[in-house]
C-alpha cells in the first residue's frame, strides 16, 4: 500500500479565487492511501517545497500528488523536490487545477468539485505508478541552422564561436537574406551591406561553419541530441568548388531576360548569374528555365568562356545526410503578395511599389544605381506618398491579423532618406498608428516629422488611381476631418510580412508547432521564447514572429546560447516514460514500426521456449529506449495490445478515466 501525500497550491489568487483549496485538501485527505493533505499559498516557492520535503520524511511518503498549475510549468520542479527527499521523481503526479480548472471556470462550487475530481484522478494514477529510471543518450556536437539571413548568420557565428561545428542550409543561392537587400538600417542609418557583409564573410571563413546554399531540408529523423537530416543540394550547374566568381560567364550569357530576384524583379539578369556582388558563396548559378543550353541544347557560351571549367549542364540534385545535436530554425519572412489589395493599384501602375522594392531603388547597388527614378518612365519623382499597414492588422481575410512591427520604422527611414537626399521632394505618409517602441525609435520617427518635414496623415487610403501623369492617392485625413486626394509621382506600400512559405513543410518535418499565421510557436511566450516545445529545436528571427534587425540579432544570439548549452553536454537524460513491448503478446505485425516518428522500433527474430524442450522463433518488436520519445503512437496502433508506455500505461489511463467518471 502506498503512502500518498497531497499538496494543494493556491497559486496566490490564481487558483484560490475560484477553487476552495482548503476544501480540496480536506476532501482528498479522505481518499484511501492518502496519509497527508496540505494546502499552501505558493507550493513552488522554497517554503512550499520544504513543506513537501518535510511531509515526505515525516510520513514516509511513497508518492506525491501536487494540485497546481500545468505540468508543463512545474512538473520538473516538483520531481526535483521529491527526488531530493528520497522519492523516485516518477512517483509524482500533477493535477492541473489552474489552466484546466480555476482559470476557465467562474462558479466556485463547480470549480472546487472539478478540482477534487482532478485530484482523485491523479491519486488513482499514482497508485499504479512505478519508479522509473531515465537512460542517457549521447549528444552529437554539431548544429544545423536552417536559413542564412541575419538570424541564421548570427546564430551560426555564435555557435561556432563556442567551438561547435555548425551547418547553414539556405534555400537561395546566397546567404544574406532580406537584410542584404536593404539600403540603410534604422535607427542609426548605417548601411545594411556595411554591417552585414562582414558577417557573411566571417561565416564563409570560419572553419567551423559549413554553408550549403541553394539547398533544402529533405527529411528529419531522430530527436534532441541525435537528429539525422537529409539535405537536398539542388543542382546549380556550376561547380561551387572550382568557380572563382570572376563573372565572365555573366557577360557572355546571351539570355538576359531572367528577373533579377535580388532586385525584386525590377531589372533583369542573365541565365547564369551571381546574385549580387557580395554574395556568399561568390559563385555563379544557372537558372535552368532561362538557360538556352539546358532548354534546347544550343549555346554553351558560358562553358566555353569559363577558365576553370566550372560549368556542368548535366549537374543533378544531390542528397547529403548529416547528424546534428540541435536544429535552429531561422527561415525568416517575405512580404505578402498584394493581389487582395488592388485598391492601391500595385498590379495596375508601375510606379506603385512595395517598400522592399523601394529599398532596391534607393540602394546604390540597386537597379537604378541608387538614383531615385520612377519605374515607369525613369523620371525623377517629386511627390512620394507612403501607405502603411498594407495587409497588416487586417481581419477581413484579405491580409494578416497581426502588426508587422517593422513598417512604421522603415517607412520613417525611407521618408527621411528621401528628404535628406532629395530636398526637392514632398513626402506624405498615411498611417493608422505610428508604433515606435524601442530605444531611440520614437525620437527617430519624430525627426522625420520635425527636421525633415515629412507630412504624416492619420488615416487610410481608399483608392489609388491614375489621372494624367499623376497617381491620385485618395484617403482619409482623420485629424483634419476631410477626404484628401494627393497627386503623387510614386506610391510606396508598406506590405505586411509573413513567414517564409517553406516553414510549414519544415515545421512538419521537425514536429515543431506552428500558429495560425504560420509563425513557429515558442515553448513559453515569456520564459522560453527561443525554444520550440519540441526538444532540440530552437527559433531564431522572424520565423517566430515579426521583429526588426536589432531584435532578430538578440534573439539569434539567445538562441545560440541555448544551442551551446545543449551541445556542451556529453549526454542527455532520456525520457523515462518510453514504450515497451510485451514479447509474449507481440504478433510481429510491424504496425508500430511504421507509425513511430522517431525510428525507435525495430523487429528481431527471437527464440522462445515453448516447454518440453521445444522452442520457436518469432518476430517481435523491440523499442530503443534512447530513441523513444514516449509519444504513444505505437501503443494506440498496436492491434494486439503488446505495446505499452511506461508512466502512461493503459491501466493507468483507464484508472484515471474511472476516477473521473466515479461519483
Amino acid at each position: 500500500m502506498q503512502k500518498i501525500g497531497v499538496f494543494v497550491c493556491w497559486c496566490g489568487s490564481n487558483i484560490s479565487a475560484t477553487v476552495d483549496v482548503k476544501k480540496v485538501a480536506e476532501v482528498l485527505k479522505a481518499e484511501p492511501g492518502v496519509v497527508v493533505s496540505e494546502n499552501y499559498q505558493y507550493m513552488c516557492s522554497e517554503n512550499g517545497q520544504a513543506l513537501i520535503r518535510n511531509a515526505i520524511k515525516e510520513h514516509g511518503l511513497t508518492g506525491v500528488v501536487v494540485c497546481s498549475c500545468s505540468p508543463r510549468m512545474h512538473e520538473a520542479t516538483f520531481r526535483k523536490t521529491c527526488e531530493s527527499a528520497g522519492i523516485n521523481p516518477y512517483m509524482v503526479e500533477i493535477a492541473n487545477i489552474r489552466e484546466q480548472c480555476s482559470w476557465i471556470h467562474k462558479d466556485i462550487e463547480e470549480a472546487t468539485e472539478k478540482a477534487i475530481i482532478l485530484g482523485r484522478t491523479a491519486i488513482a494514477k499514482l497508485k499504479l505508478n512505478a519508479p522509473l529510471t531515465a537512460g542517457e543518450s549521447a549528444v552529437t556536437k554539431r548544429a544545423l541552422v536552417i536559413g542564412g539571413g541575419i538570424a541564421g548568420i548570427q546564430s551560426a557565428l555564435d555557435i561556432a564561436e563556442a567551438g561547435f561545428e555548425v551547418d547553414i542550409v539556405e534555400q537561395s543561392p546566397t546567404i544574406g537574406g532580406n537584410m542584404a537587400k536593404l539600403d540603410k538600417t534604422f535607427p542609426t542609418l548605417d548601411c545594411a551591406a556595411c554591417i552585414l557583409t562582414p558577417k557573411m564573410v566571417d561565416c564563409a571563413q570560419n572553419d567551423k561553419i559549413d554553408i550549403m546554399t541553394f539547398s533544402e531540408i529533405e527529411s528529419v529523423k531522430g530527436f534532441v541530441g541525435n537528429f539525422k537530416v537529409e539535405i537536398r543540394r539542388k543542382a546549380r550547374f556550376v561547380n561551387e568548388k572550382t568557380c572563382t566568381g570572376c563573372g565572365v560567364c555573366m557577360q557572355k550569357c546571351p539570355a538576359k531576360k531572367g528577373l533579377n530576384e535580388f532586385n525584386m524583379g525590377l531589372n533583369n539578369r542573365p541565365a547564369i548569374y551571381i546574385p549580387f556582388a557580395q554574395a556568399i558563396p561568390n559563385v555563379a548559378i544557372i537558372d535552368p528555365e532561362q538557360c538556352l543550353k539546358i532548354k534546347n541544347g544550343k549555346c554553351g557560351l558560358c562553358s566555353m568562356n569559363c577558365q576553370v571549367n566550372a560549368i556542368d549542364y548535366t549537374m543533378k540534385d544531390e542528397i547529403v545526410e548529416r547528424e546534428y545535436g540541435a536544429i535552429v530554425v531561422a527561415t525568416g519572412y517575405k512580404p505578402i503578395s498584394l493581389e487582395n489589395f488592388n485598391e492601391y493599384g500595385y498590379d495596375t501602375y508601375k510606379d506603385v511599389v512595395t517598400s522592399l522594392e523601394f529599398e532596391r531603388i534607393m540602394n546604390a547597388a540597386g537597379p537604378t544605381n541608387g538614383q531615385l527614378v520612377r519605374p515607369s518612365d525613369g523620371k525623377h519623382p517629386h511627390v512620394i506618398t507612403f501607405i502603411q499597414c498594407v495587409g497588416s492588422r487586417d481581419t477581413s481575410g484579405c491580409g494578416k491579423p497581426y502588426c508587422s512591427k517593422i513598417c512604421c520604422m522603415y517607412t520613417a527611414k525611407h521618408a527621411m532618406l528621401l528628404r535628406e537626399k532629395y530636398p526637392d521632394t514632398e513626402v506624405h505618409v498615411f498611417y493608422i498608428d505610428v508604433r515606435t517602441p524601442g530605444k531611440n525609435y520614437d525620437e527617430f520617427f519624430r525627426r522625420a516629422v520635425e527636421q525633415y518635414d515629412v507630412d504624416y496623415i492619420k488615416g487610410m487610403v481608399g483608392k489609388v488611381y491614375k489621372e494624367g501623369d499623376k497617381l491620385m492617392v485618395q484617403g482619409s485625413d482623420l485629424i483634419n476631418d476631410e477626404q484628401v486626394i494627393i497627386p503623387s509621382d510614386m506610391v510606396v506600400l508598406a506590405a505586411a510580412i509573413e513567414p517564409n512559405p517553406s516553414v510549414r513543410k519544415i515545421a512538419t518535418m521537425l514536429t515543431a508547432s506552428i500558429d495560425t499565421n504560420n509563425f513557429l510557436t515558442e515553448a513559453h511566450a515569456k520564459l522560453r521564447p527561443v525554444e520550440s516545445p519540441t526538444a532540440g529545436i530552437f527559433l531564431s528571427g522572424v520565423c517566430q514572429g515579426p521583429k526588426d534587425i536589432p531584435e532578430t540579432v538578440s534573439q539569434a544570439s539567445a538562441c545560440a546560447a541555448k544551442v551551446i548549452g545543449l551541445l556542451a553536454k556529453d549526454t542527455l537524460k532520456c525520457n523515462a516514460c518510453v514504450a515497451h513491448s510485451d514479447e509474449m503478446i507481440c504478433t510481429g505485425c510491424s504496425v508500430c514500426e511504421n507509425v513511430c516518428p522517431y525510428g525507435a522500433i525495430t523487429y528481431v527474430d527471437k527464440e522462445f521456449r515453448l516447454g518440453g524442450g521445444k522452442t520457436e522463433v518469432r518476430r517481435v518488436a523491440q523499442v530503443n529506449p534512447a530513441v523513444c520519445q514516449g509519444c504513444g503512437a505505437c501503443t494506440v496502433t498496436c492491434p494486439s495490445g503488446a505495446m505499452d508506455l511506461k508512466g502512461f500505461s493503459t491501466k493507468q489511463i483507464m484508472a484515471e478515466v474511472d476516477a473521473v467518471c466515479k461519483r
Partner: protein
C-alpha cells in the same frame, strides 16, 4: 423606448460589430459620397459605439449614402459602415410621417426615361 434599447436594436439591425473598428478611416478614404455627407462613414461606426444616436438620426448622410458598399468591401476589420447607415436610416423612415418621397410628387420629379428599377429602389430606400 430607452435610448440604450434603441441603440441595441440599431446595432442588431446593422448585423455588424462596430467594436472591431480600429479607427483607420479607410471607409471614409474610399467613400465616393464623402463630399455630400455631414457625418462620415467612419463617424457612423464611432458614434454608434459611443451611443451618440441623436446625431446620427438627424444626419443628412442617411440620404446621400449611395449604399455602394465600397466602404464594406475595403474595411480591413470586416466592419460594414454602410450597414450601420442603413440601420439608422430604417430607424428614421419607419417612424410615422418620416417618408421622404410622396407618391403624388412622383409625376413632377421624374422624367419619362427613369427606369422602374430606380423608382422602386428609391422608394425602398426613402420610404416605408
Amino acid at each position: 423606448m430607452e435610448k440604450s434599447e434603441q441603440i441595441k436594436l440599431i446595432k442588431e439591425r446593422s448585423g455588424t460589430d462596430a467594436k472591431k473598428c480600429m479607427k483607420c478611416g479607410k471607409c471614409s478614404g474610399r467613400c465616393p459620397a464623402y463630399a455630400d455627407m455631414d457625418i462620415k462613414p467612419h463617424q457612423f461606426v464611432s458614434y454608434i459605439e459611443k451611443g451618440e444616436i441623436d446625431k446620427l438620426l438627424n444626419s443628412k448622410s442617411l440620404f446621400t449614402c449611395l449604399t455602394c458598399f465600397a466602404c464594406v468591401e475595403r474595411c480591413p476589420r470586416g466592419v460594414a459602415p454602410a450597414a450601420i447607415i442603413e440601420a439608422v436610416r430604417q430607424e428614421v423612415i419607419r417612424m410615422q410621417g418620416e417618408n421622404r418621397v410622396k407618391a403624388e410628387e412622383i409625376p413632377e420629379i421624374v422624367d419619362d426615361k427613369i427606369p422602374q428599377q430606380l423608382l422602386v429602389s428609391m422608394f425602398r430606400k426613402y420610404n416605408k
